[in-house]
Symmetry: C2
Subunit: 452 residues, 2 copies
């Protein structure tokens, strides 16, 4: 029996039929050339042979004193057929069918009588590719760590037919290899305990947000995204060449993240305009960012994650002017973090390892007066082409958690030379979510035309 | 706004992640000869064109005074893409893959923010067939009525390409055409109100059960089926030629239902023996039966449904001796109903329109002292070969509801010259449910060998 940290417990307590609290990931693979027609079936059988489960993949909420959310128990007999499943797409097996299936899978709650994870091997894509949809409860792992865990199953060796599985990673790899790594690693656990033990962290977080709000031209407006949500989800995904974003960055002297945020801002503006729902005031995004410099590869105590409030300039039609607004806003907000003491930064970072944690705290997110309109996360991913089971990874789409008052989420990640965008929205409140993809493309094109 | 009857509300209140309260049906079709490769897609598009929803298919629980279970509201904009979906089977697209998908679909709760039904058109069967999985909340419709509703979409005309949909049945068909029909029909609603208004009905039901228990040789033993359950389901389905059962019936002078119960009893005995879990005392089944004679086609006030407790004779190795035990037990239990006044019968029948309703009443079902071990229902079905959209109906497998203390359910129905068995069990408490199918076959063979 292991006690659940208060932050993790919040994800269990905060979960309901309307508010599933799991993070997901959809990976798209090019099957290897020697893959026969039974490739998916053989791959599934191979997956089922891995039955040496990491403790995280055996955890389920224990019933303790009648309250199920206080402790974890370890499941002795993991029913692997339940956790690792096969699915197929109806014809013609296009991306539309894949997204529908992913939306359905992402809408379903994890079974609390079992360890809180599922992996679905998806076949039936018309072009012969296959996909893996993974989902884990946020009480086990946060979105960044989940992506990292999935990455650890990959190899950059194209000739390797190695197929690691997230629940049984080889122990030779040091668990604590990377800062901000994973709830699996001791560091994250320690950081969380620190945050949990210190209500000070919450005060810091709150103060940092409030100070940032003061630097914004307006408070976040209420939008169609800031409403109570239902339980069904829709997701939308697309990849963009990183080079396109890099070109805009170079031409404008900004950062990749600024360009990505501006591209997202333009898409939100386009989507809202189309629905006659664009507020006069600019939308405010909450952007979880690393506060370390790029060369700062320090030890775990150097984890620095902040919640940046960013003015998205959705009231501005001109793309370059919008980019300028976004960059300035990001700079000003980061300044506030620089003024924090290292203890404060660490406590805050512990909290921000789960950006969602913040949103669960009473008073921080409200429907009547949202401090921000949308969470936009850029999660680190591999810089080179990766392989799994001899299959080339074409894309990794993160699937995060919408919640009350935040009906849509944008999370993106790098995959070799692409940026993979994963959008997840409440099926009821955010109609035609896929239109946001078209607007993302239009928004990037507009930036290119203006900058290049 | 429409108030929910107390019995229907019980199915909403009694529902939880561990106890989904929907009934399902899996229909298996032979595609028509002229079906092209896009048959499933075209069929789905055709389904989506039916947007004139019967009020039952617009109902969702309304929030009234903060309590969501007291009233129905009507959904104005039904998101048909959500309710009518396409799914596909992974290779090789056999019955095993179909059952896995059906199990997964049957494990997921219906979304209470929407009308409480879903239909999945399933393609990818290796033999070119296709399937329809339908699910409706028990608060809308009971299992018998759900089967009947699905039947009303079918035609016996092989040349017809008519494809009716349950949510938009033509009004020319009289809703009140058949007794015991449906919660859709006024009669069922009235009967339910009667039952709800009369606690006497519960007293009658209880007394009838207690009296039956007195006629049994022992109280129901505790078995591995009479335990708390989890939320995941496994289902198993197979068809048997009705003629085989008829032959045994003729040779032994019993009834089809007695033979079916004995066949099920033998299967349960075999399954429990295999797991070293057969109790010394015989298992007791609860069997919802019509108490009318076959020629009794009276008006609605003639609906007579009873909950028969049947000694399954699972302690008896000899199949014919077991059949004798079952037949005698059925006769004795039916006797008790004959002694009821017509008012009592009607009140009881109103309650029994939802056999599950009984099990929701406190004190009737208990884990420590189950009055019965399993519900076995034989639901009426079509006597001739039926068609839908030009496709021949090969099988209709009912999928009912396991609940705490009743971890497995057997429901069967007639389909032309077959008996279609649908078994649904808790995935955790009832391991290798599919073994029950083999035991059903062995049990029928043993009856044939002994009787013929």
């Amino acid at each position: 029996m292991e006690f659940i940290s208060p932050i993790d417990a919040a994800f269990l307590l905060g979960e309901s039929r309307e508010h599933p609290m799991h993070v997901g990931s959809l990976q798209l693979f090019e099957a290897p050339e020697d893959a026969g027609p039974d490739f998916a079936q053989r791959t599934h059988e191979m997956l089922l042979e891995h039955r040496d489960f990491d403790p995280t993949f055996r955890k389920r909420p224990a019933k303790l004193w009648g309250t199920p959310q206080l402790a974890w128990s370890q499941e002795d007999e993991v029913d692997i057929d339940y956790h690792v499943r096969r699915s197929a797409l109806p014809s013609p097996g296009g991306i539309a069918q894949l997204l529908e299936l992913a939306s359905d899978l992402h809408s379903v709650l994890l079974d609390r009588h079992r360890p809180l994870w599922e992996i679905h091997l998806i076949e039936g894509l018309g072009d012969g590719r296959f996909a893996l949809y993974s989902k884990m409860h946020h009480a086990l792992i946060d979105g960044v760590a989940a992506q990292r865990l999935v990455q650890r199953t990959l190899t950059s060796d194209a000739s390797s037919h190695e197929a690691l599985v997230p629940w049984q990673l080889p122990r030779r790899q040091k668990r604590t290899e990377s800062p901000g790594g994973s709830t699996l690693s001791g560091v994250a656990r320690n950081l969380r305990s620190a945050a949990a033990a210190a209500p000070a962290a919450l005060r810091v977080a709150r103060a940092a947000l409030l100070q940032q709000q003061l630097t914004l031209p307006f408070a976040a407006p209420r939008t169609m995204f800031n409403v109570p949500i239902g339980g069904a989800r829709r997701c939308a995904m697309r990849s963009w060449p990183l080079e396109r974003i890099r070109q805009v960055k170079k031409a404008t002297g900004s950062t990749v993240n600024d360009v990505v945020l501006t591209m997202s801002a333009g898409a939100l503006r386009g989507y809202l305009l189309e629905r006659n729902a664009l507020p006069d005031k600019p939308l405010i995004a909450m952007v979880p960012v690393s506060l370390r410099g790029e060369d700062d590869n320090g030890d775990q105590s150097g984890v620095k994650v902040g919640a940046i409030l960013c003015n998205l300039g959705t009231d501005v039609a001109d793309p370059l002017e919008r980019l300028r607004v976004v960059s300035e806003s990001m700079c000003r907000s980061k300044e506030i973090y620089r003024s924090l003491s290292s203890t404060q930064t660490m406590a805050l970072s512990a909290l921000m390892l789960s950006p969602l944690a913040l949103t669960l705290l009473p008073g921080i997110v409200s429907l009547t007066n949202p401090p921000f309109n949308i969470v936009i996360s850029n999660v680190p991913g591999p810089r080179e082409t990766m392989y799994w089971n001899g299959a080339r990874l074409d894309a990794t789409y993160p699937m995060s958690i919408p919640f009350d008052g935040q009906a849509v989420n944008i999370t993106l990640t790098t995959n070799a030379e692409n940026l993979d965008f994963g959008l997840v929205g409440c099926r009821r409140s955010v109609p035609r979510l896929e239109r946001l993809l078209d607007h993302l493309e239009q928004s990037l094109t507009a930036l290119e035309e203006a900058a290049l």
